[in-house]
């Protein structure tokens, strides 16, 4: 691609963006402290918090106006996702939003009553976020609480529902995760088939990965700041450990990860919103980067706090488990990495054959 194309590189947030951001930061701060997080660990889901979240319009905003929603952009949604991650909130907001957006695209939200219930979050929908999702029984991150499970089955996009929801299984991310066996579903509905339906599902996976990447940046920022606060007040040999480079430099590296991952997630979202065919590799890139970095960086935050950081009662430990488990819910990031390579290789192979004669000969040394 033309790496010297004249495009804006404007990551700034508008006033509407910052209003949205602070509204949800405030919401989770007041409604979802660490005690709330701990209290929901058994089920992985705080129903009351979910209802209060939905009452703010957090699910409605995500759908296009034509489908009865408020038409938020994906960039808007990354801002909310960051706050979900910052609070490690026990609500499957990302799954629900991506699934209902997909249903809307496939014109499959159902009749008026069901559509309304999905849009306002009374009914929960979720999807199989794995890129390489194979058939058969599968682990679905919000499978134990969802009314509708959407996944891809070959060329079909299908929706399942169960008279009795599948049982929650313990998992490191403290998600309301369940084994879902399509064969035992009470209802199975094919929502769409063929290239277009599959492309819509791929788009939903891109959205899930971008929002998950954004959530992980919020998560990391929160645990990093807590570790920084700890380091400022913990002394060794008469000095705060924050002033030791063995502590401060690893924390600086986390700050770098947060800044880069957050901007990349937002840029990927912007392209999905505005020019979806231009940089199709960015959504997966944001996910791969954050999925790799989140567990490492959250470990740094724990490590800075020493024995107190690893205690099960430490907030940092709760963040560590989710930093690992939330990303892994999307399956092996290698599937996304391979997808990135395929997309970029296809683009570069095409552009090389197109402009081979125009390439500068000094590509090996170019500054």
């Amino acid at each position: 691609m033309d790496r010297f194309e004249l495009r804006r590189l404007d990551y700034s947030l508008s006033e509407d963006h910052t209003d949205l951001q602070s509204a949800y930061r405030q919401f989770f701060k007041s409604q979802c402290g660490i005690e709330t997080v701990w209290a929901a660990e058994g089920s992985g889901f705080d129903k009351s918090l979910w209802e209060r979240l939905c009452a703010t319009g957090a699910t409605t905003m995500a759908l296009p106006e034509a489908a009865g929603g408020d038409g938020a952009t994906l960039v808007d949604l990354t801002l909310v996702a960051e706050e979900v991650g910052r609070a490690i909130a026990p609500v499957p907001w990302i799954d629900h939003v991506c699934a209902t957006r997909l249903l809307a695209t496939l014109d499959a939200l159902g009749d008026e009553a069901q559509s309304a219930a999905l849009i306002n979050g009374e009914q929960l929908a979720c999807l199989d976020p794995r890129v390489d999702g194979r058939g058969g029984k599968r682990l679905i991150p919000a499978g134990s609480v969802a009314d509708h499970v959407v996944f891809r089955d070959g060329d079909d996009v299908v929706r399942l529902s169960f008279a009795t929801r599948p049982a929650k299984v313990d998992n490191i991310g403290r998600l309301p995760m369940a084994w879902v066996d399509p064969a035992s579903a009470d209802h199975r509905l094919v929502l769409g088939s063929g290239t277009e339906a599959v492309a819509s599902y791929q788009r939903a996976l891109d959205e899930w990965r971008v929002l998950m990447a954004a959530a992980l940046t919020g998560l990391l920022e929160a645990t990093m700041l807590a570790a920084a606060e700890f380091a400022k007040t913990r002394y060794t040999l008469g000095v705060p450990i924050a002033t030791l480079q063995g502590i401060s430099h690893p924390l600086a590296n986390v700050a770098i990860t947060v800044e880069g991952g957050r901007n990349l997630a937002r840029r990927a979202a912007w392209f999905l919103d505005n020019e979806p065919d231009e940089r199709p590799e960015l959504a997966a890139s944001a996910f791969v980067f954050m999925a790799q970095e989140a567990p490492r960086a959250a470990t740094t935050a724990v490590h800075v706090q020493g024995g107190l950081g690893v205690s099960a009662e430490a907030a940092s430990a709760a963040y560590l488990l989710r930093a690992r488990g939330w990303a892994l819910a999307g399956g092996d990031p290698a599937a996304s990495a391979k997808q990135i390579a395929e997309l970029v290789c296809a683009r570069e192979a095409a552009s090389t054959s197109r402009v081979a004669s125009l390439l500068p000969s000094g590509a090996g040394r170019s500054i």
Binding site: R7, L264, I340, G364
Partner: protein
């Protein structure tokens, strides 16, 4: 938030077109080959031509002073990079010229500036010392007053392009008894003054830099820049430029961190690798069909895009660190032929990643090492305080 293509007025489009054609003609294969051989990041003919065409002056001046508008400045940066113009000497020249214009006596500015803007006169940096490293305040080069002259003794490392420059912007110590930040004085030393010796050094990425020695170099006081013992204030202004810590707000028309030029070198190399692995060899085999290749390339691209999204001082670290982390994997996936440099028969990707690997080392060092920036992030972004060091031993 906006990443869209910039809609250009007819005039700006014309400017872009003209500049691109001008550079395409000026920066020939021969210029690039010579630059690779000399490692100078400088080509006198190119430099003079850009000066003569008025581009240097437009770049140096602010918009208010009649220089480039924000959009033209961005076009200028991008086209200079697109053409692979040997270019780093202008960066130091422009930066020093700003300090001179701001802090030197008017007659010195008058002596230097017209030549700088025309391309005739070039300026280099004399900050780092052989024993000093990134802490530029630990300066041992001495300047002693001698009537209305100064006598300078000492040595400087990484005085890149000193052999193509006419003046060196020198940090000296004028009062060793005072604390570091009250002891420095800046001079713009003419490099043809007796007692100046320039010795070339090649670095691992093929660049040529210099060590310069100053033995009883006697210069008039008019070459002083800023107050006596007031060098720190002069330096601060220049360092803020170099570190990219100056506030900017041009609606996304500026690069988001310093050294994005370097990650662009990597991005070009990565794009080239992608084309190479997607191409079948004479036996019909494509590297891309191997999942191990695909995985490492995909991860490398993800990490690179993250680095390219990282702003300001965070980005400065991310860029160099990512080049260091990712280049070895990219070489591995290309196999042994990735060890062959550009121009060598059978070089896997014409030496692109081989060069990125060698460039990654210096990229994390010059302009302040990564530790300097991690300190800044720790102190200013995370509020962790100034780093504690062992007590000084002398």
């Amino acid at each position: 938030m906006d990443f869209s293509r910039v809609a250009l007025s007819d005039e700006d489009q014309e400017f872009q077109h003209e500049l691109r054609s001008f550079l395409a003609e000026l920066v020939t294969d021969e210029v690039i080959r010579r630059d690779r051989e000399t490692g100078e990041n400088f080509d006198e003919h190119v430099h003079m031509a850009l000066g003569a065409a008025g581009y240097l002056e437009l770049d140096w001046k602010t918009e208010a002073e009649g220089g480039f508008t924000a959009v033209r400045r961005r076009i200028w940066e991008l086209e200079i990079s697109r053409a692979h113009t040997p270019w780093f000497h202008w960066g130091t020249t422009a930066m020093v010229a700003k300090s001179v214009a701001q802090f030197a006596a008017p007659d010195l500015t008058d002596e230097v500036l017209p030549g700088v803007l025309a391309g005739r006169t070039r300026l280099c940096l004399g900050y780092t010392e052989p024993e000093g490293g990134s802490d530029i305040a630990t300066c041992k080069t001495r300047a002693v007053r001698d009537g209305d002259h100064w006598i300078i003794n000492g040595s400087k490392m990484f005085t890149s392009n000193a052999h193509n420059a006419h003046y060196v912007f020198l940090i000296t110590n004028t009062d060793p008894d005072e604390p570091k930040h009250k002891s420095l004085t800046m001079f713009l030393v003419p490099l043809d003054t007796p007692g100046v010796e320039i010795q070339g050094i090649r670095t691992v990425d093929g660049d040529r830099t210099n060590i310069t020695y100053y033995s009883d170099v006697r210069i008039p006081d008019r070459y002083r820049v800023g107050e006596v013992h007031g060098g720190w204030a002069v330096l601060r202004g220049a360092l803020d430029q170099e570190h990219g810590t100056i506030e900017r707000n041009t609606g996304g028309l500026e690069k988001i961190a310093v050294m994005t030029e370097h990650i662009n070198v990597m991005a070009e190399a990565v794009d080239h690798v992608a084309a190479v692995v997607a191409t079948a060899d004479e036996t019909g085999h494509r590297l891309l069909d191997d999942d191990a290749v695909k995985l490492r390339l995909g991860v490398g691209i993800a990490r690179m895009e993250a680095a390219m999204s990282t702003p300001e001082m965070f980005g400065r670290v991310a860029i160099a660190q990512t080049m260091r982390d990712v280049a070895p994997d990219l070489m591995d996936l290309l196999g042994s032929a990735a060890s062959l440099p550009v121009g060598t028969e059978g070089a896997a990707d014409d030496g692109g990643v081989e060069y990125v690997f060698r460039l990654a080392g210096p990229t994390g060092i010059y302009g302040g090492t990564l530790e300097v920036f991690r300190n800044m992030i720790a102190q200013h972004a995370l509020g962790l305080g100034r780093p504690n060091y062992s007590p000084a031993t002398r």
